[in-house]
Amino acid sequence: MNWSWMLPEGFSTVSGDIDFIYYVILWITGVIFVGTEALLIYFLVRYRHVEGRKAAFHHGSTRVEVVWTMIPLFIVIGLGIMSKGVWDRVKREVPPGGLGYIVTARQFEWNTTYPGPDGALGTADDFSTLNALHAPVGRPIVLTLRAEDVLHSFFIPEFRIKQDAVPGRDITVWFEATQPGEYTLGCAELCGIGHTTMNGAVTIYTAADYQAWAATQSAQ
C-alpha cells in the first residue's frame, strides 16, 4: 500500500509549478496539523479532570484572537497570490505557435482530430484517432474541447491537466509535454454507465517521430 503524499512524476511544462504549490500547501498544512493536534492532546492530558481542581475562569483575550485571525489571513493571501500566477498561465495565457487539435468527447470515447499536412484544421486532409491522443514533445498542443452529449472531463494526470468538456461550448485547453512516452487520458466527470471505460492513451513522440506518424495517418 502506498501511503505516500508525493505526487506522481509530472511531464508537462506546468506540472512543476503546480506540484510546487501543492508541496508548499502540504508543508504549511502539515505543520499546522501536527501543531494543533499535538497541542490538543497535550491539553487533554495536562488539564484532565483531577479531584478538587477547578478550571480557570477565563473568557478569552482579544489580543490573542487578533493574532490568530491575522496569521491564517496572511497565509491564505500568500497562497492565493501564488496560485493566481499559475492559474492564469494555464487557463488564460495560451502560448502562441501551438499545434491545434479538436478533441470531441461523446459517451464513451475521446475523438481527436489532427490537422493534416497543410497544418490547418477543418480541411479535407484532417485525420482523427479514437481514444488516443498523439502529440510531439516540446511543442504547445492547443486543444479545442467539445462534447456531443453530456459533460465529460479531459484529464491527463501526468500533465496535471483537467478540463470539463461542455456540450454547446468550445473550450480551449493547452499542454506542452516535456518527455516522449505513453501517458493516460481519462474522464473525470461522471458521464453515464460507461464512464469508467472512457479512457485512452496519450502518446508523445519526438518531433521527427511525430512527423513520421502524422504522415502515415494522413496517407490513409
Binding site: M1, N2, W3, W5, M6, L7, P8, I18, I21, Y22, I25, L26, I28, T29, I32, T36, E37, L40, F43, L44, Y47, H49, R53, A55, A56, F57, H59, G60, E65, W68, T69, V76, L79, G80, S83, K84, W87, V90, K91, R92, Q107, V150, L151, F155, P157, Q163, D164, V166, P167, G168, R169, T184, A188, E189, L190, G192, I193, H195, T196, N199
Partner: protein, 595 residues
C-alpha cells in the same frame, strides 16, 4: 394585559396553546405539535436513513474493494442491480452510479441535515431561549410530515423501472436532464420531486426557527446571552430559508426538462448546462454550511460544559458563525473551477474561498483555547466533541488544497475530494451529532445513556473512521477519480487495489461498529438510569426543567441574568452558574435586566 397583546397571542397562531389535559394518542405521538416530540420523530426517521445510507456505502465499497467480483449474498438483489453469474452476482455499473447518487443524497438531505436541523433545531431552540414552544407549532408538525413522504419517494425510486437516479447527488445536467443519457427516467424524476418536497419541509422549519429565536426569547435572553448551539441553528435557518428556494427553482426546471421536455439545461436545444451548476452550487455551498454550523454549535456547548470552563471568545465565536454564513454565499464557484467557467471568476472565487478559512481557523483555535487550563471530563459526549475538533482540523486543512485553483486542476474529482468531504461531514457533522445525542439524550428521554457501551462505540468509530477515510487522500494524490465503477480499467490505478481493499474492510468494520450505538440507544430508552434535571451540571435553560420537559416546557417563563458559559465562576461555590440564578444579593423575584 392590553388588547394588543391578546390579539397578538391570537395572531401568534400556536404561539403556545397548551392543552395541559392528556392528549389522545394520535395528537401526542403521531401528529404532535410539541417541538420535543417532533424532534424525536425526526431523530428516529433520520437515524433510519443514516443506516440506509451506510448500507449503500457498504455496497459501493464492495465493488471498489473487489472490482467485478461476485458479491456474497448479492444474489438477493434484483437482476437490474446485480448481474447473476454462475459463481455469484456481480454489480452492474448503472447500479453503482445509483449507489453513488443515492448514498450522497440520502446522507446529506435525509440523514445529516434532519439530524442537525430537524432534531437539534426543534429540541434546543425553544428550550435554550426559554420559550414554551415554537412560534408556529402546527407549521412545525407540517415540516416533519412533509419530510416523511419526501423520504418515501426517494426510497421508492430504487424499485422503479430503470432504477434510482444515477447522475450523482449534484445531478449535473445534461446527464440528469434526460433519460436518454443514463437510462434512468422515473428514478431521476422521483429524485427531483422528493427533494422539492423536502425543500418545503426545511422551509417550514426555517420560518419557525427564525421567528422563534427573534420573537420568543425569555426576558434577559439578549442576543449575546444565546447559547452557541442556538446561534448556529438560527444562522443555519437563515441559510436554509434563502438557499432552498434557489434549489427548488432549479429542481423544477430540471424536472420540466425531464418530463415535458423543456430546454433549460439541454444544450442540443440551446439550454445551458452551466446554469444548472451555478444554481445548484449557489444553493449547494450554503448547504455545506447548513451541514457544519449546527455541528460547530453543538461542539461548543459540549466542549465548554465538559471542560467546565467558559467558551474562549464567545463573541468571536458568534461573529465567526455569521462570517462563515455570509462568505458562504460568495464561494460557490470553487466547486466549478474545472467546469469551463470564466477563469477570471475562478480567481475571485479562489480568493473568497481562501478567506473563509479564516473564520473556520478562529473557531478551531477558540476550541483549543477553551481546553487550556480547563477541567476536562472524558464522557462520551466530550470524546465525540473532541473527535469533531481534531477531524475538522483535517477536513479544514485539506480544503486549502482544493481552494488553490492550480492544485485543484489535479485533485478535482479525485478521491482527495471524497476524503475531504467525509472528513467534514462524517468526522465533522456526524461526530458532533453523536456528541449531541449522547449529551441531550437524558433531556429527550429522561434516562442516561449506557456510558461504557458509548465509549466502546466511540473508540471503534474513531479508529475505523480514520482507517477508511485517511487513505482516500493518498488515493486522490495518486490520481484515482471519484464516482468510478471500476478503477482497474486504468493501468496506472492498478497498484491501488490493496489500499482500496484495506479501505473496504475498514468500512465494513466501521458500519458494523455502529450497531453498538443502536443497541446502546434503544437499551437506554427503556433500561437507562433515570436522569436528573441537570445531569451535566450545565448552565443553559434546558437543564432547569424536568427531564423530559413537560408540554409547554417552563412552568413560568424563566428570567435570564447572564451568559450561557459561566463555568467555574468564582461567583459560585459550585463549578457552574445557571443563566437563571440571580446575581448574589439579588432576590429571585427581581425584574429582569432589559432585553
Amino acid at each position: 394585559m392590553s388588547t394588543t397583546e391578546k390579539e397578538i397571542l391570537h395572531a401568534g397562531g400556536g404561539g403556545g396553546h397548551h392543552e395541559h389535559h392528556e392528549l389522545p394518542f394520535l395528537r401526542k405521538y403521531i401528529f404532535s405539535t410539541d417541538h420535543k416530540t417532533i424532534a424525536k420523530q425526526f431523530m428516529f426517521v433520520s437515524l433510519f436513513f443514516l443506516v440506509v445510507g451506510g448500507a449503500l456505502a457498504s455496497l459501493m465499497r464492495w465493488q471498489l474493494g473487489f472490482p467485478g467480483q461476485p458479491m456474497p449474498g448479492g444474489g438477493i438483489l434484483p437482476d437490474a442491480m446485480m448481474a447473476p453469474t454462475p459463481d455469484g452476482a456481480i454489480m452492474l455499473p448503472e447500479f453503482y452510479n445509483s449507489l453513488v447518487t443515492m448514498h450522497g443524497t440520502i446522507m446529506i438531505f435525509f440523514a445529516i441535515m434532519p439530524l442537525l436541523v430537524g432534531v437539534f433545531g426543534n429540541l434546543l431552540i425553544p428550550l435554550q431561549i426559554g420559550a414554551e414552544d415554537m412560534a408556529f407549532p402546527r407549521l412545525n408538525m407540517a415540516s416533519f410530515w412533509l419530510a416523511v413522504p419526501a423520504g418515501i419517494l426517494m426510497l421508492a425510486s430504487f424499485g422503479v423501472e430503470g432504477g434510482a437516479a444515477g447522475a450523482g447527488w449534484t445531478s449535473y445536467a445534461p446527464l440528469s436532464s434526460s433519460g436518454e443519457w443514463t437510462g434512468v427516467y422515473l428514478g431521476q424524476q422521483l429524485w427531483l420531486a422528493s427533494l422539492a418536497v423536502l425543500g418545503f419541509s426545511s422551509l417550514a422549519g426555517a420560518v419557525n426557527y427564525i421567528s422563534t429565536v427573534i420573537n420568543m426569547r425569555a426576558p434577559g435572553m439578549t442576543w449575546f446571552r444565546i447559547p452557541l448551539a442556538t446561534w448556529a441553528l438560527f444562522i443555519t435557518a437563515i441559510l436554509i430559508l434563502l438557499a432552498m428556494p434557489i434549489l427548488a427553482g432549479a429542481l423544477i426546471m430540471l424536472l420540466f426538462d425531464q418530463t415535458i421536455g423543456t430546454a433549460f439545461f439541454r444544450p442540443q436545444y440551446g439550454g445551458e448546462p452551466l446554469l444548472w451548476q451555478h444554481l445548484f452550487w449557489f444553493f449547494g455551498h450554503p448547504e455545506v454550511y447548513i451541514l457544519i454550523l449546527p455541528a460547530m454549535g453543538i461542539t461548543s456547548e459540549v466542549l465548554s460544559n465538559r471542560a467546565r470552563k467558559p467558551i474562549f471568545g464567545y463573541h468571536s465565536m458568534v461573529l465567526a458563525i455569521i462570517g462563515i454564513a455570509f462568505l458562504g454565499w460568495i464561494v460557490w464557484g470553487h466547486h466549478m473551477f474545472m467546469s469551463g467557467m470564466n477563469p477570471l471568476l475562478g480567481t475571485s472565487f479562489m480568493i473568497s474561498t481562501m478567506a473563509i478559512a479564516v473564520p473556520s481557523a478562529i473557531k478551531v483555535f477558540n476550541w483549543l483555547a477553551t481546553l487550556w487550563k480547563a477541567d476536562i471530563h472524558f464522557d462520551s459526549p466530550m470524546l465525540h466533541a473532541l473527535s469533531f475538533v481534531s477531524m475538522f482540523i483535517i477536513g479544514g486543512l485539506s480544503g486549502i488544497f482544493m481552494a488553490s485553483t492550480p492544485v485543484d486542476m489535479y485533485i478535482h474529482d479525485t478521491y482527495f475530494i471524497v476524503a475531504h468531504i467525509h472528513y467534514v461531514l462524517f468526522g465533522g457533522s456526524l461526530f458532533a451529532i453523536f456528541a449531541g445525542i449522547t449529551f441531550w439524550f437524558p433531556k429527550m428521554f429522561g434516562r442516561m445513556m449506557n456510558e461504557p457501551l458509548n465509549k466502546v462505540h466511540w473508540a471503534l468509530t474513531f479508529v475505523f473512521y480514520n482507517l477508511v477515510f485517511f487513505p482516500m487522500h493518498n488515493l486522490g494524490v495518486q490520481g484515482m477519480m471519484r464516482r468510478i465503477y471500476d478503477f482497474t480499467q486504468y493501468d496506472y490505478l492498478q497498484p491501488l487495489q490493496p489500499m482500496n481493499r484495506f479501505i473496504t474492510i475498514s468500512a465494513f468494520l466501521l458500519v458494523a461498529s455502529q450497531s453498538l450505538f443502536v443497541i446502546s440507544f434503544f437499551w437506554s430508552i427503556f433500561k437507562g438510569r433515570k436522569a436528573t434535571d441537570n445531569p451535566w451540571d450545565s448552565n443553559t435553560l434546558e437543564w432547569t426543567v424536568p427531564s423530559p420537559p413537560p408540554h409547554g416546557n417552563f412552568a413560568e417563563i424563566p428570567v435570564v441574568y447572564r451568559g450561557p458559559y459561566e463555568y467555574s465562576s468564582p461567583e459560585s461555590d459550585r463549578d457552574f452558574l445557571p443563566q437563571t440564578e440571580p446575581p448574589r444579593g439579588m432576590p429571585a423575584s427581581a425584574p429582569a435586566p432589559a432585553t
